[in-house]
C-alpha cells in the first residue's frame, strides 16, 4: 500500500481515470498542508473519495449534505474560534453544489464574513448524477437535462458569474484557476487561506466523462478553455480585478470541437450562428478582463 506521507490525498480513490476534480483534491491538500479541516459537499469528489470506510483524506474531513458545506464550515470556524484553535477551514463543492443548491448557505456565510476559504471545483455540470445542467454549465453545452435536440441547442443560459456575485458579497479575495496550471491553483488557494474573511477560488476541472473527451486530455482541454477566452484566470481583491492571465486567443472552435457536449454544433453540420454566439462570449470575457496579449506586432488581438 502506498503509504506516502507527503501525499495527503490517498491513492485508491474511485474517480474516473483522468479526472480533473481528483487533481483538485490533491492540489488543494498540497496548498493547505495538514492543519486544515475540509468540508465537502455531495458530488463526485465526495463519492469517489469516501465510501465507508475507505477515505482518501488524510486530513480532518467532513461531509454532511449537498447544500450546506458553507454553513457547516461556518460552524466549524465558530467552534475553532471559541476553542482557540488555529486550523484553516476549507469548504469544497462542485459547481452544482456551489452555484445552485448551495447558494443559500454560501451567500449567508459570505454575508456573515466567516474566516474560511470556499473552493469550487467547476466541472460545469452535475457529474455525480450523470451530467445534468447546472448554473455553471456553459452556453449551448448539451447535458442530460439540457440536451441538444430538434428544439434545443443545448443549455440556453450563459454561465452564472459566481466570482462576481461573491465579490459583490464583499469577499476580500476571489479568484479563478484551472487544473491546467497546477502551481497557479496552489498559489491561489494559499492566498485565499491567508486572507482573513471569506475567500473564494473557482477551479476549472475538466471532466472527461461528462464533457466527452479522453482522460489524457484533461489538462489540455483546460488550457484550451483559457486560450480561447472561455475561461479566464483572474484574481479579485476587495472587488477589484488585480491579476489576469493573458493569452494569445484562439477561436472558440478549437475548444468546442474537442468535446462531445458541443458536438451538435458541428454535426450534422456546423452551426455557425451558435458558434458565433459562443465566440461573442469569449470576446466579452476578453474585453471585460483584458486577457488579450498584445503581440509585439500592432495587429491587435489575435482573434481571427
Amino acid at each position: 500500500m502506498a503509504e506516502n506521507s507527503c501525499e495527503l490525498f490517498d491513492s485508491g480513490h474511485r474517480a474516473c481515470g483522468g479526472c480533473g476534480a481528483a487533481l483538485v483534491s490533491r492540489l488543494l491538500l498540497k496548498a493547505t498542508g495538514k492543519d486544515v479541516i475540509i468540508v465537502s459537499a455531495t458530488g463526485c469528489m465526495e463519492v469517489f473519495s469516501t465510501p465507508y470506510p475507505e477515505t482518501a483524506w488524510k486530513v480532518p474531513w467532513i461531509h454532511s449534505l449537498f447544500e450546506n458545506n458553507s454553513a457547516v464550515a461556518s460552524g466549524i470556524e465558530a467552534a475553532l474560534k471559541k476553542q482557540g484553535r488555529k486550523e484553516k477551514v476549507v469548504a469544497i463543492g462542485g459547481d452544482g453544489s456551489t452555484f445552485d443548491i448551495g447558494m443559500l448557505c454560501l451567500s449567508g456565510a459570505f454575508e456573515r464574513g466567516h474566516d474560511f476559504t470556499y473552493i469550487c471545483y467547476d466541472n460545469e455540470a452535475y457529474m455525480n448524477t450523470g451530467i445534468q445542467r447546472s448554473g455553471a454549465t456553459p452556453y449551448d453545452a448539451s447535458t442530460t437535462t439540457s440536451p441538444a435536440g430538434k428544439c434545443s441547442k443545448g443549455n440556453n443560459r450563459p454561465k452564472k458569474d459566481l466570482p462576481q456575485i461573491l465579490a459583490a458579497h464583499g469577499a476580500p479575495y476571489v479568484a479563478t484557476a484551472s487544473i491546467a496550471y497546477p502551481s497557479d491553483v496552489v498559489k491561489k488557494i494559499e492566498k485565499a487561506l491567508n486572507t482573513p474573511g471569506p475567500c473564494y477560488v473557482q477551479i476549472h476541472a475538466p471532466c472527461c466523462t461528462g464533457w466527452g473527451f479522453e482522460g489524457e486530455k484533461t489538462l489540455a482541454i483546460g488550457k484550451l478553455a483559457i486560450e480561447t477566452g472561455l475561461w479566464v484566470n483572474f484574481e479579485m481583491e476587495n472587488g477589484v480585478v488585480t491579476r489576469v492571465k493573458k493569452v494569445v486567443r484562439k477561436p472558440v472552435e478549437s475548444y468546442l470541437k474537442e468535446q462531445k457536449r458541443f458536438r451538435h454544433l458541428f454535426k450534422p453540420k456546423i452551426n455557425a450562428e451558435e458558434i458565433a454566439k459562443i465566440q461573442a462570449i469569449a470576446d466579452k470575457n476578453a474585453e471585460k478582463y483584458g486577457t488579450d496579449l498584445k503581440l509585439k506586432s500592432k495587429s491587435g488581438p489575435v482573434v481571427p
Binding site: Y52, V59, P60, W61, E67, A71, G75, I76
Partner: protein
C-alpha cells in the same frame, strides 16, 4: 431558586448554564424569545459562546453540525416551518451521531400557515432519529435541557435531542420556575468531552457514505443507540432527582392512574389542564387518570403497556394528525397495547392554537365512555 419568569427566559437561562460553546439559530415565532435572550446574554458578556446569526434554519442546524463535529457543545432552537426546513439536516445530525440539543417551541405546520401551538412539527420528525422530550410546564422544560445534554452526550447514546415545549402556551407564559445555580448545573453536567472530533492532530473523516454492505448496520446501530437511551434517560433523570429533588427517571408518568377506569394519554402542556379536569371529574365520582408521555423517542412502548394494562378504556389526545391516518400518538399507543382488548380511542384536538378547556376534556371522557373516538374534536361545524 424559585423565581417567576417567562418560559422562554427560563429555557434560555438553562441553556446558558449548560455552557454551550456555539449557538446557531434562526428566529421564528414563538421560539424568538429564547434566542433573543441568548443573543442578549452574549452581547452583555454573560454567556461566552459564539452566536451565529444564520440566514435560515437550514444553515442553523448545518452550522451546529460543523460546531459539534469540531468538538463544541452546540445548541439551537426552532419550531414549525423552521423545523420543517431542517428536516433533511435533522436526519443528518442523528445519523452522524452528533449530540446537539435543540429546543422546539411547538407550533402548527402550514399550509395554512399558523403561528399557534400544536405538536405537528416535532411529531412529523419522529422518524429522524432524535430523542424527543415533551414538557408539561416550564419547570420541566427547563430541567429537561440539562438532562437532554447529559443523555445526548453519553457515549452509550451519542444522539441529538429535541426538548419540545408548547409554543406560546409555555414559551410566553410567566410562572414560577425553580432555577438551578450554575454550580449545580456544573456538577450535574460537566464540561463537554467530545467522543470524536475534527482535529488535524488526529484526522478522521466524518459523514462518509455507506454502500449496501454497511448501511443497514449503521441504521441498526442508530436504532440501538436510541434504545440504549431509555436507560440512560432513566439514570440521568434519577440522578437529577437525587441532586435537585425533581425526579425524571420515568419516560411516562401516571396521574391518578392506579385505580382509573379511563386513562387519558397526552403530551406537553395539555397534561396540566387534564390534571385539573381529572381532579374535578374525580370529585364527581369518575375514575379518570392520565398517562403523560414525557419521552416520545425512544418510544416507551413497554412502559405504556404496563401503565395502562388495567384500565377499561384509553383516550389518546393528539395535537397532530397524520393526514389520511390518525394522530401519531394514538397509532403508537395502540401499537404498544396490541393484544389488549380495551378500547383505545384517539382525539385530534388543539391544532393551530385551538384552545382546550376543562370542559373539553370532560366532553372527551364522555365520548370515550360512549365508545366514540378516532375523530377530530372541537370543530366549529358552522364554518365547515
Amino acid at each position: 431558586m424559585l423565581e417567576i419568569t417567562e418560559g422562554s427566559h427560563a429555557v434560555a437561562k438553562a441553556v446558558k448554564m449548560s455552557r454551550p460553546q456555539v449557538i446557531a439559530a434562526y428566529p421564528i415565532t414563538p421560539q424568538t424569545h429564547i434566542v433573543e435572550t441568548l443573543a442578549d446574554m452574549v452581547a452583555n458578556g454573560e454567556l461566552d459562546a459564539e452566536y451565529i446569526t444564520v440566514e435560515s434554519e437550514f444553515s442553523a442546524l448545518s452550522a451546529c453540525i460543523g460546531a459539534s463535529a469540531a468538538g463544541s457543545r452546540t445548541y439551537s432552537a426552532t419550531t414549525s416551518q423552521g423545523l420543517a426546513l431542517m428536516f433533511e439536516v435533522c436526519f443528518n445530525v442523528s445519523g452522524m451521531r452528533l449530540p446537539i440539543v435543540m429546543t422546539i417551541a411547538n407550533r402548527a405546520l402550514g399550509a395554512p400557515l399558523s403561528i399557534w401551538n400544536d405538536q405537528q412539527d416535532s411529531i412529523s420528525l419522529r422518524d429522524c432519529g432524535w430523542i424527543q422530550f415533551y414538557a408539561e410546564d416550564n419547570q420541566e422544560a427547563t430541567d429537561l435541557h440539562y438532562i437532554a445534554y447529559k443523555v445526548a452526550e453519553s457515549v452509550e447514546v451519542l444522539l441529538p435531542a429535541f426538548v419540545c415545549f408548547d409554543g406560546f402556551i409555555l414559551s410566553h407564559t410567566y410562572e414560577p420556575v425553580d432555577m438551578l445555580s450554575q454550580e449545580d448545573v456544573d456538577r450535574y453536567l460537566p464540561a463537554y468531552k467530545p467522543f470524536q472530533k475534527l482535529d488535524s492532530d488526529d484526522p478522521i473523516s466524518m459523514g462518509m457514505y455507506a454502500t449496501p454492505e454497511y448501511y443497514l448496520e449503521f441504521r441498526y446501530e442508530h436504532d440501538q443507540a436510541m434504545k440504549r437511551a431509555k436507560d440512560v434517560i432513566s439514570k440521568a433523570g434519577k440522578e437529577f432527582g437525587e441532586m435537585f429533588g425533581r425526579d425524571y427517571s420515568a419516560l411516562v408518568e401516571g396521574y391518578r392512574l392506579e385505580d382509573a377506569d379511563t386513562a387519558i394519554v397526552a403530551m406537553g402542556s395539555l397534561c396540566g389542564t387534564i390534571k385539573d379536569s381529572i381532579d374535578e371529574m374525580r370529585l364527581a365520582g369518575k375514575k379518570v387518570g392520565l398517562l403523560k408521555i414525557r419521552c416520545f423517542r425512544p418510544f416507551p412502548a413497554e412502559e405504556i403497556r404496563n401503565a395502562l394494562s388495567h384500565v377499561k378504556r384509553v383516550a389518546v389526545l393528539d395535537k397532530n394528525v397524520s393526514i389520511g391516518a390518525k394522530g401519531a400518538v394514538a397509532i403508537e399507543v395502540r401499537d404498544a397495547l396490541y393484544g389488549k382488548t380495551m378500547p383505545v380511542l384517539g382525539y385530534i384536538l388543539g391544532l393551530g392554537g385551538r384552545d382546550v378547556r376543562i370542559s373539553d376534556i370532560k366532553n372527551i371522557i364522555s365520548l370515550a365512555e360512549s365508545g366514540k373516538g378516532d375523530q377530530f374534536y372541537g370543530l366549529r361545524t358552522e364554518v365547515l
